[in-house]
Amino acid sequence: MGSFFIITSLLKIVGILAVILTMVSYAVYAERRVSAFIQDRLGPNRVGPAGLLQPIADMFKLLLKEDYTPRSVNTFYYWLAPCLAVMPAIITIAVVPFGSTLFGVPMVIADVNVGILFVFAIASLGVYGIVIGGWASNSKYPFLGGIRSSAQMLSYELSLGLAVIPVFLVVGNLRLTSVVRYQIDQGWFIAPFVGDWTDPWKWLLAIPMVISFLVFMIAIFAETNRLPFDLPEAEQELAGGYNIEYSSMKFALYFLGEYAAMITGSAVIVTLFFGGWHFPGIPDGSRGWIFGLINVAVFFAKVAVMIFVFMWVRWTLPRFRWDQLMRLGWLFFFEIALVNIFIVAGLMALLPK
């Protein structure tokens, strides 16, 4: 504790912020390339080698655009909303362990004992950015987008919360570092290959974990407003939804928020179900700083794969209709997650210690 703690924490914050912002800008680039490849196009490939400098060009374009504020907006909330959209997505990453240790410093900004509760508490604030933005714009389409977003958040937050309960039933702790620690000892939740992997109980336990993972991932799709649940945005119906009246950097902040939420969502999924920074055969940072770095790299590689899955799903599935979305959330995922909890609890009771 003391000055060492403060300095290392600041370094970690600056470092993770730099990594997240870089990932966001390259996630936009990756989205465009992946969508292009899926549709047999090439995508942006002109700026720099293979178009890798495209994010910089995009950034300059957005910075140099006219920042237009419509006359009829509620100025204070109109300015506040984009910030509210970005902030929660970036704050959430604070509790996610993105590496083991580096020079003896644990690679997590805040290892709080209510980790996942913190994630849910902050991540659900993200909806305020959209709702307030939709309302403050004083325009019909953004308003509809905002309303849709709030209703969608209500329907999916529930299954999101219920879907992770099995994980914490097994781990017995809400701290995200102990979730990772458990998975290092016992194997990843959805693929328990580590340790005594011939144990049939583990594989039996993996079945409800996979269900849990699917429900959680689908709820994260809804939470981050990605297709097939991008109803607040819905280009075809609402012409862009909540962000119609925004331009220049404020629009870019919404964009940033969406992608940052996606990265954070991926990070949480990776931590909960894919063993976080752990990869079989690679020791943790106590064996040398190089392994610490590799662990961080493994974590972000897993996050990148998850982001690819997000994009892959987005460019495959059509958008759900409004009533279908509500039906799916309330009548299926909620029940599936609920029953899943009982299954895991039952298995835990039967499980030989």
Binding site: I38, Q39, D40, R41, L42
Partner: protein, 201 residues
């Protein structure tokens, strides 16, 4: 035979008319397809869709799909047909003489009035005095040109042709004005007797 056909058509008309009447007067209930449990589960369809998109992604990544031409690096030029209608240009004959005799027919036929010719007189002492006129100025405004090829068709001296240049660019309107030198540069030399009314040109 004729009677049969007409009666058939009449019958048909009656049926169609009747149907349209039905459509106008009552709502049609389209039956919902009954789905089996696999279709109701919806997940197999999602997985199949994901597999298809991933196949496309993989083929693009490995360079197996070739649908996009990278334009400035790769061009159509080699596969352009002979009758391609690109930029109009003036041609010289084998002796390097400008074929145009400034008759101004192209100027008159040009639908968007892109061509402007100022004829000059060939002095009587000249070897080619019988030609009488030559184009002192010959301008084609490429902003106006619609590449219709009428100038080529109307030219009695086979002096103006539509060449294969299609990327005509410039930074100003003045840049887009093709003067005589530019037109001759694009046109180059046309060898031999040009059979203008052959099937291609």
């Amino acid at each position: 035979m004729v009677g049969q056909i007409s009666s058939f058509t009449l019958h048909h008309c009656f049926v169609i008319g009747h149907l349209s009447l039905v459509i106008l007067t009552m709502a049609i209930t389209v039956p919902r397809p009954t789905l089996n449990w696999r279709e109701r589960l919806y997940l197999p369809a999602i997985v199949a869709g994901l597999a298809i998109t991933f196949k496309h992604f993989k083929n693009m990544l490995l360079g197996r799909t070739k649908v996009t031409m990278q334009y400035p690096e790769q061009k159509w030029d080699s596969s352009l047909p002979d009758h391609y209608r690109g930029a109009p240009a003036l041609v010289r004959d084998e002796d390097g003489r400008v074929r145009c005799v400034a008759c101004q027919l192209c100027e008159f036929i040009c639908p968007p009035r892109a061509i402007k010719i100022i004829p000059g007189e060939i002095p009587t002492a000249d070897r080619f005095a019988k030609v009488e006129k030559y184009p002192e100025q010959f301008d084609i405004d490429m902003i106006r040109c619609i590449f219709c090829g009428m100038c080529e068709e109307v030219c009695p001296e086979q002096a103006i042709f539509l060449r294969k240049d299609y990327a005509i660019t410039g930074f100003t309107r003045a840049d887009m004005m093709h003067h005589k030198e530019k037109l001759l540069e694009i046109g180059g030399i046309m060898h031999g007797v040009v059979l203008k009314w052959n099937e291609r040109k």
